[in-house]
């Protein structure tokens, strides 16, 4: 987020979509420089809770002693609680829905000009399912990812690792291939790699995923990657 913020120039407004509030998904937020630029308006969108607003929940992190600057000191930012449904951002239709991950977690589908990108960075659709990936009606995330031109999806574990981390909210390589196939996407970008995996491990996994994919292309998610939808 720090590097991305440095590239935001000559714009008046930025939208930030947050799937959920686990630390690895919000820790970069206070370092996103547009938040501290009064000439840029920032709208932050995140999952609704019945108990506290998005701003109240983010306040726990964006306040002393964890962070020196309080949210109330930021001049040009607004926080929006997102329930499952649709909203529009500058001509882009955004569909949000809850997906399988510990705690309320959204996935997003962004559509414009007949093209669709789906973002499911933390997702365990196979959890407890007897017949995954064969029943779209009972598969988390299906409605968001169906027919997407690009699916950015959790690809954290090998099958062996997943067996020991059931319920942690992430997918094995086998699961992400099955999910992408069920949803009939065009391109799958693997994402949310396990921090313990080396570049060599990821390169090897990518080769195996490419070979195993049927009907869609696999793109490795890499830092700073840019894809055209």
């Amino acid at each position: 987020m720090r590097a991305l913020g440095a590239e935001v120039r000559d714009v008046e407004k930025v939208d930030v979509l947050i799937t959920h509030l686990h630390m690895d998904h919000i820790q970069g937020l206070p370092f996103f420089s547009p938040l501290h630029d009064p000439d840029i308006w920032v709208d932050v969108w995140g999952p609704v809770s019945s108990h506290q607003s998005l701003q109240e929940r983010l306040n726990r992190y964006l306040s002393p002693p964890l962070f020196p600057i309080r949210i109330r000191d930021l001049e040009s930012v607004a926080f929006h609680d997102v329930a499952p449904g649709e909203f529009h951002l500058d001509g882009i239709q955004v569909t949000a829905d809850l997906v399988s991950h510990p705690g309320p977690t959204l996935g997003f589908r962004l559509e414009e000009g007949g093209r669709a990108l789906t973002y499911l960075p933390d997702h365990e659709p196979a959890l407890g399912a007897h017949d995954f990936p064969n029943d779209s009606y009972w598969t988390s995330g299906y409605a968001l990812a169906r027919g997407a031109d690009v699916l950015i999806h959790d690809s954290q574990y090998t099958d062996e690792e997943y067996a020991e981390r059931l319920g942690w909210g992430h997918s094995s390589y086998t699961h992400v291939l099955g999910f992408a196939g069920l949803c009939e996407v065009d391109r799958l970008m693997t994402f949310h790699h396990d921090p313990g995996h080396t570049d060599e491990t990821l390169d090897e996994a990518h080769v195996r995923l490419q070979q195993a994919a049927r009907g869609f292309e696999v793109i490795p998610g890499t830092h700073g990657a840019v894809i055209e939808v």
Binding site: S49, S136, Y137, W138, T139, S140, A143, R146
Partner: protein, 130 residues
């Protein structure tokens, strides 16, 4: 609908792993799932009859009070949970589709997601001595 809400997906997954009979309806009152344990009481495999929409559900199973007298639809625990969004419990007798009458305790709970979204009803039932 292309896909059920996540809360119902997770609940179905849990129910499929439990031996407590469980019955699930969506927010429209359509029967969308019951588990293997419930199949034993209801007298039919879910996949043989379900899903069942709310209109077709009326009268599918004959239900009476414990003394055999008629039980109005509006007193069914699942109907109370569905219409009033409140939990409900009662004893009743019903005839499974295998023809066997059984006495059960039924508890129905309304399912509400974040932001107050009503999602449907979960019911559990225990067979008791007649």
């Amino acid at each position: 609908m292309a896909q059920q809400p996540l809360e119902l997906i997770l609940l179905r997954q849990l129910a499929s792993h439990l031996v407590i009979p469980m019955w699930m309806m969506d927010e429209q009152g359509n029967l969308i799932y019951y588990n293997e344990s419930a199949e034993g009481l209801l007298g039919v495999h879910f996949d043989d009859v379900g899903p069942i929409n709310s209109e077709q559900l009326v009268g599918k199973w004959q239900v009476t009070q414990m003394d055999g007298s008629p039980l109005p639809d509006y007193d069914f625990p699942v109907v109370v949970a569905l219409s009033k969004h409140k939990p409900a419990h009662r004893s009743l007798r019903f005839q499974g589709l295998d023809g066997v009458w059984r006495a059960v305790e039924v508890t129905a709970l309304p399912l509400e997601g974040q932001d107050g979204r009503f999602l449907g009803v979960l019911a559990t039932f225990w067979e008791v001595d007649d």
